[in-house]
């Protein structure tokens, strides 16, 4: 009989087992404009002056929207709002690299990308007021926001698959945070996209935190970009505070995706504000760290580039600021004017044809509202919309 008695195994003899480790991986961070404003002329994207100006304008708009939306929330005129402060270059650079026919799968912080893709500012404000109607994303190829983190990645794989089947020459573009890369849905979705050769671009803004959790608590991997390799797709790591680098990286990823090679892009950036308006970041990170990243401000870096290349003189910063401010005010007015909705709204759109029981529930509720007006005392009107 075989002796099955166990003991602690002896130290293994050295038989030269090859070990694959991330230490052998060199993941560069792609950059066009250095933090000090110096830049690589070779890598400067071939854009006209108006586009260079627009990139700046969109970043100003992102920042303005974040500031003013946060203030509106404080005054009870908006629900929870997630600011993209600090991430303007990632948001804008990525959005600018997409084509109208591409589909954006948003996470929540990408205001400017959604607006440049055709969403109206009024509708975006209505969304943050908790108005279902705004989820139509009217006039824009934008999917619903993935509030359940990571939940959209497998859907992106399917959407991209469909685009490939239909031979559309467009990509499905997913926004996600570093936190999302820990979810099961991310791993299943990215693997699927890889196997299918689906034109998907997974754009991860590694803003260093998932609510309170810093990146090194999120994963034992050194980078997000390297996660692409396990699934046999390409990864790009880009300086997320360099709008031109992000633009180039996403444009490249888009091209690769259209050739049947999905790409995971990691934009390394920093969320300078709170996670959302219900969060207090001073509880979990230091002022020093925030200050450090403030010095890498994406708008300032880009402004330096514009100055260095002689494009700044043609840009009227004051006028841009006034313009986006007015645009925001007008959008708030338009949102305020949005017609008050009836209870039928709650029951609509669940099915193409409303089942009888749902009709009955709606009718019964309407009757209660009519017979018991005191009901309205319990129904607080939420942020106006």
């Amino acid at each position: 009989m075989v002796n099955r008695q166990r003991s602690t195994p002896a130290e293994p003899t050295d038989v030269s087992v090859d070990r694959l480790s991330q230490d052998e991986l060199d993941v560069d961070t792609y950059r066009v404009v250095e933090p000090d404003g110096s830049y690589d002329p070779e890598a400067t994207p071939d854009l006209d002056d108006e586009s260079f100006r627009d990139l700046y304008r969109w970043m100003v708009l992102q920042r303005t929207f974040d500031d003013r939306a946060t203030k509106l929330q404080r005054r009870g005129r908006l629900g929870t709002y997630p600011s993209g402060r600090g991430q303007e270059a990632s948001i804008v650079g990525a959005g600018f690299a997409l084509a109208d026919q591409d589909w954006i799968f948003p996470y929540g912080r990408e205001t400017a990308a959604l607006l440049m893709h055709g969403l109206s500012m009024r509708d975006l404000l209505l969304y943050w007021r908790g108005v279902e109607d705004a989820s139509r994303m009217e006039g824009a190829n934008i999917f619903g926001l993935a509030i359940s983190i990571g939940s959209h990645i497998p859907v992106v794989a399917g959407k991209a698959w469909g685009m490939k089947l239909a031979d559309e020459g467009s990509v499905a573009f997913a926004n996600l945070g570093d936190g999302a890369t820990s979810t099961g849905a991310f791993h299943e979705g990215i693997n699927f996209a890889g196997v299918l050769g689906a034109p998907a671009v997974l754009f991860c803004q590694n803003n260093q935190y998932a609510i309170t959790l810093p990146f090194d608590g999120q994963t034992n991997a050194d980078t997000v970009a390297q996660k692409a390799l396990a699934y046999g797709i390409d990864g790009i790591r880009v300086d997320g505070n360099d709008v031109l680098a992000v633009y180039n990286a996403v444009a490249e990823a888009r091209k690769r995706a259209l050739e049947g090679n999905p790409v995971l892009v990691e934009a390394v950036t920093y969320r300078r504000g709170a996670h959302t308006t219900s969060d207090d970041p001073t509880r979990y990170r230091s002022e020093d760290e925030v200050e450090e990243w403030k010095e890498r401000d994406p708008l300032e870096r880009y402004q330096t580039f514009l100055e260095e290349t002689g494009r700044w003189d043609a840009i009227d910063e004051e006028a841009i600021r006034e313009e986006v401010d007015e645009e925001f005010s007008a959008a708030v007015d338009a949102a305020d004017e949005f017609a008050e909705r009836g209870v039928e709204e709650m029951f609509a759109y669940l099915y193409e044809e409303m089942p009888p029981e749902l009709e009955r529930q709606q009718a019964a509720f309407e009757q209660v509202l009519e017979e018991r007006p005191e009901m309205y005392e319990y129904i607080e009107q939420r942020p106006k919309g």
């Binding site: 979810t183 609510i211 509880r283 029951f347 529930q361 018991r372």
Partner: protein, 321 residues
Amino acid sequence: MNATIIQAVNDALHEEMGNDERTLVFGQDVAESGGVFRATEGLQDEFGEERVLDTPLSEIAIVGSAIGLATHGYRPIAEIQFSGFLPPAFDQLVTNASRIRWRTRGELTAPMVVRTPYGAGVRALEHHSESLEAVYGHVPGLKVAIPSTPHDAKGMLISAIRDPDPVLFMEPKHVYRSLREEIPEGTYTEPLGKAAVRQEGDDLTVISWGAMMHNTLEAVENLGVDADVIDLRSISPLDRETILESVKNTGRCVIVHEAAKTGGFGAELMATINDEALMYLKAPINRVTGFDVPVPLLSMEDYYIPHPPRIETAIEETLEY
């Protein structure tokens, strides 16, 4: 001490972590900052980084690793930040946690608690407001507890942690901070699987749980009816005796819950009463529930919630039948 539900939960965690070294608390944002609702505040300071830790954004692994830990002699207390993010981990609850004792013929067990805030009414984003207790209550082998008061939150959570089987502990976040009551200092338990009679009366039985318990009590008070008001407290196991005894006495019953109506837990209660006390009924059992729709986003959310006027209407109908 005078406590809110959230403070009571926090107090229970402090107590039980102090009582039992095998306990661990983990989940998203629970350690460093004490959780988005502050339920776990102070725990890491007191019990250290090994027993109180922040995890990656991985619901499947949070619940799954709790099962592994539990089978290894630990007492994991995992937090799922909002119950709307539990569905990815449903697989772990169903495939592993709920049936491990059964599958191994008692060789392995999973004494673990998954705590999660649930329910509507806090102006949150999509997926933050659902009440899927009936779905979880449908899983054989999984206990589902829902306290509605600070006193019960503490006592029931301690029971859940000590329970030899997996317990999903659903906390009604709408009333996390809106109620206060005196709760005992130190360790005490409230049983799982036992309903509480909040008020006694002979005219009818009103059954509810979670945040809706308070709307129910308010409706009963507004009407001034002589009602037996039962706080179910446990979806699974179900305290059939308390319900049946009450309904046999009153002959009338209204059930109030926030979850959608179809397949909601009210349906199970009606079936139970039908099975065992049909002949005692003087009126059809009435239900006041959420609608068969997703909980609306925040601007319409309050239309969804069963407020006292809807409950009052149902009670009046039942009494007048």
